[in-house]
Symmetry: C2
Subunit: 228 residues, 2 copies
DNA sequence: AACATCCTAAAACAAGTGTAATATTTTTAA
DNA sequence: TTAAAAATATTACACTTGTTTTAGGATGTT
């Protein structure tokens, strides 16, 4: 069905990772490449190095169970980092600094993106958010991640001048915009831009976070200019 | 496969629309709802009011042919409007006005979104752009739409202070952000926001276009403040 | 040792898939 | 009206899909 010559080699993951999370990683990667409906359970099981193509049913019950598990898996990883960041911000009295809060929301995603050699996270999450038309960005499966929820609450408090429903809408859009920046960054051919291409994503993070304050009309309060 | 109770009623389109474009509209709607890989040719044909489930093969050759036809169909519609807008802008000497150019790019999409009662355009295009990792926003199937291409060129000239590769990246992201604003606008339950919900999308267009100038660092030159 | 638990393998199934081939109708042109 | 062309319907087929079922094999505990 046209998507024939996709890379079907098994994940480079060593045997140290158990089968269940190998399925999560394989699923994330294939869903990111071919769309959430564009990969079969058999492909995923094969890529996870499992001759058993019923592995997804066993571990996650159903196809949708896997999709949700991928989402939860990544969310859990970020919760740890967000918790630490929130604690540090609180200690430094920067809880009312809009830029700090924005970084708590965005930076863990950047780190997730950097850690994965295939950069599947952003693409998967974009498609996931696009399909499950969740009215709220923080509308998750069942139990909400408390740290992200708190960061979003703090954020909404700092959004000024615009009514809350506009802020809500823009927050979602800004998040998707950020995900797409991540996606495209490693997706484009670097030769296309010549040698002026800065590969350290951290470098451009300044610009990104800065420029995102604007559509949200965030008012930075502590030592953060509105853009780099 | 869990997506069972989707609206399978035929399109309300009268018999005045020929079968080929009815397939395009049905495809757009179903792809928008269930993902580009989430709808079968049989569903689409049925929704197009055709007992013939091989209609897509006949008219478009293959599944991907239909996807591309949907894209081209909408692009063609917008080309007409963009041509008129460009001509008008040229006559008024506003070709160097960043905001005018941005409107030439964005407004036709808004009108497309408004004209379609099901608001499938934005959702479909988002997923299309997400899957076909086109390096350029204006990288289309075969023949490029000349008017959009010119608008994008004019736009790049007005983007200032930031290197071209950053501008490129932000332009794509801003476009996707805009599409998602369209999607969510009619996607969310209006009751959720109470009576303060302004249903005239044109009203919020001011804010949107204005706030989008910022991540692009556009410099408006004529009677356009940076935000509403 | 035996046991239970967890995981993997393999086979089977009904339903749905894209596409092709053929027949029928409808439209167009002469 | 008649012939050619375009569109729609019908049937068939080989293949893939998600899921279930059944069987086998680790691994660790008592």
């Amino acid at each position: 069905m046209s998507n024939v010559e996709i890379a079907m080699d098994a994940l480079p993951a060593a045997e140290t990772i158990d089968g269940k999370t190998r399925l999560i990683l394989a699923g994330e990667q294939l869903f990111a490449q071919n769309g959430i409906n564009g990969a079969s359970m058999r492909e995923i099981a094969t890529k996870a190095g499992q001759g058993n193509h019923a592995a997804v049913q066993y571990h996650f019950g159903s196809r949708e169970g896997l999709v949700r598990a991928i989402f939860d898996y990544r969310m859990e990883q970020m919760e740890a980092e967000r918790g630490a960041m929130l604690q540090r911000a609180r200690a430094m009295g920067r809880l009312k600094d809009a830029r700090t809060i924005l970084e708590i929301i965005l930076l863990p995603q950047l780190h997730l993106h950097d850690a994965d050699g295939n950069h599947s996270y952003a693409s998967f999450l974009s498609q996931y958010l696009l399909q499950s038309r969740s009215p709220e960005f923080g509308d998750f499966s069942g139990s909400e991640p408390p740290h992200l929820t708190e960061a979003l609450r703090l954020m909404r408090e700092r959004v000024d001048y615009i009514p809350p429903y506009v802020a809500q809408r823009r927050l979602i859009s800004v998040s998707l915009m950020f995900l797409n920046i991540l996606m495209r960054h490693h997706g484009t051919d670097e030769a296309e831009f010549g040698e002026s291409f800065p590969d350290a994503l951290e470098d451009t993070m300044e610009q990104i976070v800065g420029s995102m304050c604007m559509p949200l009309r965030l008012v930075p309060t502590q030592g953060a200019t509105s853009d780099s």
